[in-house]
């Protein structure tokens, strides 16, 4: 197991390394001139070149990359001509001249918002999705099954921007049941936190729960037909034991896989929900960075998101062994 984890971590570092190079190359292939974007209306070629130099975009791409990597380990100094140069301590993921803040600091400020958004939605959709999926499977072909599958179909068909705007217009603006979302930490004001997050959670959960209802129902039904479940029932085990200890455990593996990856994807930012509900999360930050061709920020967020997904893959693989004893990690 230990050797497996070490190998996976090494692979993760390699993947991040390759990804960081890819992001740098892709950004340089994008249309537009980031130096021109930092320059106002009365921009002259001289000023554009000065800005290009200041931002380091005049350096060969490999040198830009090495400076970026060097910053992670040794820190960097930006705008040395300024009366107060910007000192970015290691680990320095860069400095956003658009937001006037270190990339790591921006990410660290946004990440908790996205974390709570993802975790809250995850708990709701897993609870509702898996519960209703199992419930439908246990009543296969009967009206509760059809009802759950109908709900699932509707939930799956509703785009999150539509549900989000609908809830915002009615619940917040029209009926004023909830105040306009304004993110606060759950440790600072738990009640205001709940008031702000409940609608984004619901929006995200509706979409994902619909998928998990179907996935869970299908998995459970498939496992119900397996020999070991029939054997368990034949042995006279209580139905609850058959479902929980045998059928569910075996059927959970693909659900855990999907859940792990979905959660990791969400931790990289839920762009639509964050924007509709004005949540300062990673998704909104990513959109802003792309709009402004903010290379350091794009690179930082991309690497973080990739790291999360790779890490989630590792956790999912490890969980396999816990859930299903037949799986051996080597």
């Amino acid at each position: 197991m230990a050797a497996y984890i070490v190998r996976r971590v090494l692979l993760m570092i390699t993947l991040l390394f390759i990804l960081s190079i890819t992001v740098f190359v892709l950004f340089n292939l994008l249309p537009g001139d980031p130096a021109r974007l930092t320059c106002g209306k009365s921009c002259t070629p001289i000023v554009i070149e000065q800005n290009r130099h200041r931002l380091g975009y005049d350096l060969p791409i490999q040198e830009q990359y090495f400076k970026f990597v060097g910053g992670i380990f040794f820190g960097r100094v930006f705008s040395p001509e300024s009366p107060k140069p910007i000192i970015c301590e290691a680990p320095c993921l860069g400095y956003s001249f658009n937001r006037h803040e270190e990339v790591l600091s921006l990410i660290m400020r946004s990440a908790p918002v996205t974390f709570w958004l993802a975790i809250g939605a995850f708990i709701i959709w897993i609870t509702v999705g898996v519960s209703l999926g199992i419930y439908a499977a246990l009543r296969r072909g009967r009206w509760p099954d059809r009802l759950v599958m109908g709900i699932s179909l509707i939930g799956y068909s509703l785009p999150s921007f539509f549900v989000g705007l609908l809830l915002m217009f009615f619940v917040v603006i029209q009926w004023q049941w909830l105040p306009y979302p304004s993110y606060v930490s759950p440790f600072e004001d738990p009640f205001a936190f709940l008031q702000t997050m409940i609608l984004p959670w619901i929006v995200l959960a509706i979409l994902y729960a619909a998928f998990y209802m179907r996935l869970t129902r299908n998995q459970v039904l498939e496992v119900f037909n397996d020999d070991f479940v029939r054997t368990a029932r034949a042995k006279g085990l209580p139905e609850r034991t058959v479902v929980v200890k045998h059928a569910l455990r075996a059927g959970l593996t693909p659900i855990v896989t999907a859940a792990g990856l979905d959660l990791a994807g969400l931790l990289g930012g839920a762009i639509i929900s964050e924007n509709i509900f004005s949540l300062p999360g990673l998704g909104a930050l990513a959109v802003d960075s792309i709009t402004n061709s903010d290379l350091p920020l794009i690179t930082g967020i991309t690497l973080l998101t990739a790291a999360l997904i790779i890490f989630a893959n590792l956790i999912v693989d490890l969980l396999y062994a816990v859930i299903d004893p037949r799986v051996r990690l080597v």
Binding site: T38, S42, V172, Q176, S182
Partner: protein, 602 residues
């Protein structure tokens, strides 16, 4: 089986109940937040109208922007930002009068200075004397040295960028061989003074007690307008260079408010509170009615519209920074001149700062009759419909826009120049006649445009409408991000293309020289006509403002008749405010709300 399923019901019921408690509980118990969200008591009827100025309260500014473009006197450059900061935090030597009338709203009044400045040396030296009692937020006086230092920052182009550079262009400081100023700004620490050029700057900008003088390289008749843009004061001891104004320690105010907090991104806010050291006696300009300003960033534009349309709770005290979304225009307006009764005067459609036009390379299309034929043939009605219809803009008759004030006078190009009106949908018959009169064959022209879906449709209209007059147009779309870098170079540009321009201050000196002379910097039409250059120079140096207006009007009319460019639309934008805030009008100086005199009514 039935018993075994009970636990499932319990789990399901528990999770659903938890959600309901969270959702419903907040609505019934929680008081309204101190700032931001709607209050439980509900809002006023949408038809409630502001009743008059009233000190106190909070005005909310809602914007989809993630942050201010700049919070720095030397980098602040967009109209709405200039209007907001000018009204709250940053004083200038002169300012624009608050008025709903375009001519009055673009006229100057003294701000930090005692008057509108004195021009001597034939308009090459301008002096302003600071009035008494102008202070920073810590109570210390704003001095001549503070203004001189602030202006000097503009020269540090490697640190202070994105802002206006009129100080660099106008002050009497020599340039290097590469065109950059010999003065490198205040940050070149450790560099010999001769290289930095500090002595050159000290000669160009001098302080004599409370009087600051600017020595210019050529006469500038409207330099007292120039000083509204990028000539603000910054105290050297406060200056943090690159980050000044954007992060803590925040910008040091000399206006009636100061920054209490500033966070960017979705959910970010800038909160301004009263500056207790600001003296109303030193400021006859700002009204400073509200106790507090809250700017809320990162609001979804659809949500922003709905909140202000609904105008409930604190949103009744909100103004929109930005534009009403296209899908809501028909809900709020009957047409750009008339709002629906339920929104009354709180929705406004007015000119934005921009004029849209098609540049024509006058060297590649030298025949004036051909250029006139292009203008006459163009189906401007179809193009306007394509870009958003009557809400997008009014038909332009020249480069100078009506909201610039006295420099605008109708050119009558479309109405009477040809002895007959030119329909908005174009007149191919008249265009063909002009081509015949030109004595040359109908040309084949290359049309440049930024490659977007809307522009692609516009290009199709251009090709079709000019084609009806016998002019063959070849489309040459360009990557949007590289458009201007390509069309500025006559070797890589086509024959004509799309462009837009906004005046930097309400004087045609920031429109016609840039667009019609090589020295101006935005001469996409590659015009270098000695007669135009001379006329522009004469207008620039004319110290009598009334005479200067006449000169600009004449140049604008002549340019329209010569079709150096094809003016297309004077841009419009629509915006809305809550029911308990006023006064609500589009301030022509910046195409913005008149922030410096705004108030809440309850």
């Amino acid at each position: 089986m039935a018993k075994s399923q009970t636990w499932l019901f319990r789990a399901l019921a528990l999770s659903v109940t938890a959600m309901l408690i969270a959702a419903c509980g907040g609505a019934t118990v929680t008081p309204a937040p101190a700032s931001g969200g709607p209050q439980a008591t509900g809002g006023p009827k949408a038809t409630d109208a502001p009743t008059g100025p009233k000190p106190g309260g909070t005005i909310y500014v809602l914007t989809q922007s993630e942050q201010w473009n700049q919070v720095d006197p030397q980098r602040n450059y967009t109209g709405e930002d200039l209007a907001f900061f000018g009204g709250t935090l940053m004083r200038a030597l002169t300012a624009y009068k608050f008025s709903a009338d375009a001519a009055e709203g673009t006229s100057l009044v003294p701000d930090m200075a005692t008057d509108l400045g004195t021009a001597t040396n034939g308009g090459k030296t301008w002096s302003f004397t600071l009035r008494d009692g102008v202070t920073w937020q810590d109570g210390s006086d704003v001095t001549c040295a503070d203004i001189k230092y602030g202006v000097s920052r503009t020269f540090a182009t490697s640190v202070i960028n994105q802002g206006p550079t009129y100080a660099v262009v106008y002050l009497d400081i020599p340039t290097e061989a590469d065109g950059s100023s010999a003065y490198k700004g205040p940050y070149a620490v450790g560099t010999p003074a001769a290289v930095v050029g500090q002595d050159l700057y000290d000669k160009a900008v001098t302080c004599d007690g409370k009087t600051i003088s600017f020595n210019l390289s050529k006469p500038i008749a409207d330099f007292n307008y120039t000083v509204t843009l990028g000539f603000g004061a910054v105290r050297e001891s406060d200056d943090t260079g690159e980050t000044y104004g954007t992060i803590a320690p925040f910008l040091v105010s000399n206006g009636p408010y100061k920054i209490d907090s500033y966070t960017t991104g979705n959910g970010g806010k800038m909160i301004l509170v009263r500056n207790e050291n600001w003296k109303a006696s030193s400021d006859g300009y700002r009204k400073a009615y509200p106790d507090k300003w809250e700017v809320h960033f990162g609001i979804d534009p659809k949500v922003e519209d709905q909140r202000i349309m609904q105008s409930a709770g604190n949103d009744a005290f909100a103004v929109q920074y930005g534009q009403i979304q296209p899908e809501n225009l028909a809900v709020i307006f009957d047409d750009p001149d008339h709002t629906k009764a339920e929104f009354g005067a709180r929705a406004i459609s007015g000119f934005d700062p921009y004029s849209r036009y098609y540049w024509i390379d006058n060297n590649k299309v030298p025949n004036v009759k051909i250029r006139q034929a292009m203008a006459v043939a163009l189906d401007r009605a179809a193009i306007r419909k394509n870009i958003g219809g009557e809400f997008a803009g009014a038909y332009a008759d020249g480069l100078v826009k009506p909201n610039i004030g006295g420099d605008y006078k109708a050119t009558e190009f479309w109405t009477s120049f040809f002895g007959q009106p030119v329909p908005d949908s174009g007149d191919p018959v008249l265009a063909k006649k002009l081509i015949t009169d030109s004595g040359v064959a109908a040309p084949t022209l290359v049309f440049n445009f930024a490659d977007t879906p809307t522009n692609q449709k516009t290009a199709a209209i251009v090709i079709d409408s000019l084609g009806k007059a016998g002019i063959t147009v070849t489309p040459a779309p360009l990557e949007p991000g590289k458009y201007y870098s390509i069309v500025f170079n006559p070797e890589t540009s086509g024959d004509f293309g799309t462009a837009g321009w906004g005046a930097d201050w309400p004087n045609a000196s920031t429109v016609l020289p840039p667009l019609l002379t090589q020295a101006g910097g935005w001469d996409l039409s590659q015009l270098d006509d000695p007669a135009v250059n001379a006329a522009v120079d004469a207008a620039l140096t004319e110290l009598d403002r009334t005479k200067q207006m006449g000169l600009w009007q004449a140049i604008n009319k002549k340019s329209a008749e010569e079709v150096n460019t094809i003016p297309t639309f004077f841009g419009l934008s629509q915006t809305i405010a809550g029911t308990k805030v006023g006064p609500l009008y589009r301030w022509a100086a910046y195409g913005s709300w008149p922030y410096g005199e705004m108030y809440v009514t309850e």
